[in-house]
């Protein structure tokens, strides 16, 4: 759906989703052109995808079935079933009048989580996706690939601690209400070591993500131009780039 790194141009295989292959095909050719514009609409319905991934996980071998954590999976399944009963059956089916109202309720309630979906991509999609190899220190990698969102203290609740994404990535187990105080220490650490502490405003951050999506779209256009040119002429002469 979205491409945040040119590495995706040659189909990339996910080592997480059991070798799920991100195939670069004609569908990708099409969607990558408009990814800047499809970003918000897709993020609005992202929650439906999460239901799917949740059940996929619970059904898969990846969820722990043995050992001291074996109770987790059945508990999770039971809790999810309760949710389905309460939300889909009792609320949507029984309480809200069938038809337009129920459908709108389903869509609007799921779209209203948009700020969270945006927030999650904001912290990383605007940042670097490069891998600098095994010598790079853990701290430098985290600081390089993560962006903080600037926000006043009274608005902290809106971002739920994720605005201090870099601090959270350096110390994932630190409770979120301590992150603001801790960010001062991290800033000092960055000054000492000469690593850039990346921080953007909410609007700036959105621009950064959209800019990145556009940049990749442009790269895909150049790539397409190269292929078209080679196929059409079989020669190495230069086509007029202004026509692209």
């Amino acid at each position: 759906m979205f491409t945040t790194s040119p590495a995706f141009f040659s189909s990339v295989k996910s080592s997480y989703y059991n070798g799920f292959q991100f195939i670069w095909n004609s569908v990708a050719d099409f969607t990558v052109q408009y990814q800047k514009y499809t970003y918000y609409p897709i993020m609005m319905v992202a929650r439906f995808n999460l239901y799917y991934l949740s059940w996929l996980h619970l059904a898969s071998a990846r969820s722990i079935k043995r050992g001291t954590a074996a109770w987790i999976r059945p508990t999770e399944v039971l809790a999810c079933l309760c949710y389905i009963y309460l939300f889909f059956y009792l609320l949507l089916w029984k309480t809200i009048p069938h038809g337009k109202d129920a459908w709108l309720f389903l869509l609007v309630s799921h779209m209203a989580t948009l700020p969270l979906q945006i927030q999650i991509t904001l912290s990383h999609w605007g940042a670097s996706t490069s891998d600098l190899g095994p010598t790079e220190a853990f701290a430098q990698r985290q600081l390089r690939t993560t962006v903080d969102v600037a926000c006043p203290e009274w608005l902290d609740f809106f971002h739920g601690g994720l605005q201090f994404q870099t601090v959270h990535h350096l110390f994932p187990r630190v409770p979120r209400h301590n992150l603001r105080k801790l960010s001062v220490l991290v800033r000092n650490f960055c000054e000492e070591t000469g690593i850039d502490y990346q921080i953007l405003g909410f609007v700036e951050g959105n621009h950064s993500v959209l800019g990145k999506l556009q940049h990749i779209t442009d790269q895909a256009k150049i790539l397409a131009a190269c292929q078209k040119h080679m196929a059409a002429t079989g020669s190495m002469n230069l086509p007029n780039l202004a026509e692209l």
Binding site: Y16, H124, T145, F171, P172, R173
Partner: protein, 298 residues
């Protein structure tokens, strides 16, 4: 990898029981095989037979090239091929105002790239930009960063940043209840759309606490935090906290790595197992001999 960041000290002590050796001197990370690291048997390069495998490409600190997984060429391989192409088209024009990738600023870019080499160059350029912007990747600089970070972590631990102030969560719960109450009230008066918005904001807010619980960041107790996570994630929001943790752990482990992506990037347990196995093997600690010792001790 920074185990001491990701796990509490209590767990690391348990980890120590499985320790089978200590590396003396400085440790250099290897490129794992799944990322294209090449390992050969010691006999093949005439080394001691005690060493089962030897890593060939120990950290090439100064020149970072993209890993060969996504495309078959690194920039070193690419250069001579490109130089050999005589009909180089020089172009300084830009496509719609954005930077056209220029592998060599002086000669301009060439149109005869196939998708793989173009991709390799685009990826390499992003790497070069980062290398220029960030501290040097040589072992000494990076070690210094790691040492300073270790000191910072000690400070974070000593100054009580890991202590959770529960009164903060009382405020959180108050806000969640208010939003949920608003949703029910609006539902009661049949303002369905507004009620749906209130429910959506309630979900958005309460998921943050599921995130904290997923990191064991509330009580730091696995069972209690898991129950909180399941209650909020699965029961209130309908999403599996187990799925979330599984993918989120990887997200923290290899942040923003597109070559190992899940919903938001990353690697696999398989990768880790291989990585550990090769690290052990390359450091002359034979698992076979250990197993032998254990069985004879029994």
């Amino acid at each position: 990898m920074c185990n001491w960041i990701l796990h509490p000290r209590r767990l690391l002590k348990i980890d120590d029981r499985f320790r089978i050796g200590l590396i003396e001197g400085e440790w250099t990370n290897f490129v794992p095989p799944i990322q294209g690291g090449i390992f050969r048997r010691a006999v093949e390069i005439g080394g001691e037979t005690k060493t089962p495998l030897v890593n060939d490409n120990t950290s090439n600190a100064t020149s970072v090239t993209r890993r060969p997984q996504a495309a078959s060429c690194t920039s070193e391989e690419l250069e001579p091929e490109l130089v050999a192409t005589e009909q180089t088209a020089v172009c300084s024009e830009k496509v719609e105002g954005t930077d056209v990738p220029e592998p060599q600023a002086t000669t301009g870019w060439k149109l005869e790239y196939d998708p793989d080499s173009y991709t390799a160059i685009a990826v390499q350029q992003a790497i070069d930009a980062d290398v220029a912007k960030y501290p040097s990747l040589d072992a000494d600089t990076q070690r210094e960063i790691a040492i300073k970070f270790r000191a910072l972590h000690q400070r974070v631990h000593d100054e009580g940043y890991y202590q959770c102030t529960f009164s903060n969560y009382a405020t959180e719960i108050g806000r969640y209840l208010a939003l949920f109450g608003l949703f029910l009230t609006l539902l009661h008066y049949e303002w369905y759309i507004c009620s749906a918005v209130a429910l959506g904001i309630f979900w958005q807010q309460i998921m943050f606490t599921a995130h904290d619980a997923g990191h064991c960041g509330i009580t730091h107790n696995y069972v209690i935090d898991s129950l909180i996570g399941i209650f909020i994630g699965n029961f209130v929001c309908g999403l599996s906290i187990g799925w979330w943790k599984s993918s989120h752990n990887v997200h923290h482990f290899v942040t923003n790595d597109p070559v190992s992506p899940n919903s938001r990037q990353y690697t696999s347990r398989c990768w880790l197992i291989k990585y550990c196995r090769y690290t052990i093997q390359t450091h002359r600690i034979s698992l076979c001999s250990l197993r032998h010792q254990l069985s004879s001790a029994r």
